[in-house]
Symmetry: C2
Subunit: 249 residues, 2 copies
DNA sequence: CGAGGTATTGACCAGTATCAAGATGCGTGG
DNA sequence: CCACGCATCTTGATACTGGTCAATACCTCG
């Protein structure tokens, strides 16, 4: 999408110790490391990769080698069944770690697809485990990241198991809003990177239902929808949508 | 909470190096450790706890100290929302590890409730992290366990997001069957430890729907249901139920 | 043996899926 | 820069799954 900004970025894979100077260090793996530790990590993480919109970062079934930290861009991950059924398991933004599912079997268990031109830092997992042994705080933080992913998944299970369409969408928008906000973007206005169908897959709904839920929230003046552009007009009422199905008129 | 039950089983907490002699060592945390390593782990894991049916192993909101390995018994974990909505996030049997969700924030994010009289090994997490630094294979296995939990959750998300009631129940029964089988029990005949309501919560269905799905599978002679006793008569046809909604008559 | 929790089944209804038609937006090539 | 074509989105009509409510049966445990 922003592909042809005229950057001379061939050099980028050669920058060493990049974690130290990365603007995402407070969101990403290096949280809580001192300067020396962050340089050790930086040496391990030196390789970068660009994935253009629609490209695969990894596919189900391929051998697991590395985790990936998102430096810029936006990804979806999805699992699919033999019969072709597909489920988006998550949307991922800068600072988040991809590939955690693959540690268990050394094989990736989902696809990771870029929803816009993106850049990731490749973290060879064996090396990460090695340096974890000498940087206990890195190990601890890594455990927290994995655990956070489990908590996140439980939240999605709650959503899929017990919420109605409108509640699901409200929860989804508020989650995006919070994550954009954490990264310094507006919490009330943002562009969706994914289609209605992808949102639907994530939320366990059909795309038409997602579209209707958007329209309904717009009719109530809670949000303004202009295709992929979302503006949250009344975040309080949006929050109410999330929890309280009984007060729907 | 059940600390002051007048237990005659004080002796049990004094057994040392228990992992070495535990019949679950091939299912549980010690997988892949040598004898020396397993004794180090055993020293850390020495404390045991009994939870009687209906009792809490941990509750949402309490401080996280330890992981728990299930030595005997059966647990459910569930998350709940402010508005009282509840979702069972998993059923857990011997050899499985509970508490992984709490690592991220040092606070338990779900309840763990025994569905039958159970016994767990308490694993102080700080100590586990400490000995991981000197037993790399333990660290690696622990990472695999966390990752496996993430994969499991993605499977549940797929189930909740894209399967019909009957497919969900078939998937659930086959999953239980496989796990009983791995533990040396019959894969075709077992007792459910949970109620229809708990199954429903886990599968994103109401208890009546679960009951109807059981009856339907029984009418088709795929399973025999006698209250909590389940017998799988035709595992092949049950597997077909799981994937292929198009061939339902 | 009785009470409370649990399970089954039926009738009806709500919410979402499905099918279909059209509108809008976006990328590509002329 | 415009026009075309394809993907995406919106909206309506209808069908169907599963939810809700209710009555009854069953099981378990004190």
């Amino acid at each position: 999408m922003f592909r042809d900004i005229p950057l001379p970025h061939l050099d980028i894979s050669n920058i060493r110790s990049s974690c130290a100077s990365c603007s995402l260090r407070e969101l990403c793996l290096p949280v809580g490391l001192n300067d020396q530790e962050i340089h050790i990590l930086g040496d391990v993480v030196s390789h970068k990769r660009r994935i253009s919109r629609g490209g695969y970062l990894h596919r189900t079934g391929i051998k697991f080698q590395s985790l990936f930290a998102i430096r810029s861009g936006f990804f979806k991950t999805c699992v699919l069944e033999e019969d072709g059924r597909q489920q988006v398991t998550g949307f991922h933004m800068t600072g988040e770690l991809l590939g955690l599912d693959a540690i268990s079997s050394d094989i990736h268990t989902c696809d990771a697809i870029a929803l816009e031109d993106s850049e990731v830092c490749e973290i060879p997992f064996t090396k990460l485990e090695e340096i974890s042994l000498v940087i206990p705080s890195l190990m601890r933080h890594f455990h927290k990241i994995m655990s956070r992913e489990i908590v996140r998944d439980h939240g999605v299970m709650l959503l899929l198991g017990s919420m109605k369409a409108e509640e699901r969408l409200a929860t989804f928008l508020l989650n995006l809003s919070r994550r954009f906000c954490m990264r310094g973007y507006s919490e009330s206005e943002f562009n969706l990177r994914m289609t209605r169908e992808e949102i639907g897959s994530y939320l366990g709904l059909k795309l038409e239902t997602v579209s209707r839920a958007f329209s309904k929230l717009q009719d109530e003046n809670i949000i303004t929808v202009d295709n992929k552009r979302i503006q949250i007009n009344d975040i309080t009422r949006l929050r109410l949508k999330m929890g309280n199905s009984s007060c729907v008129t």
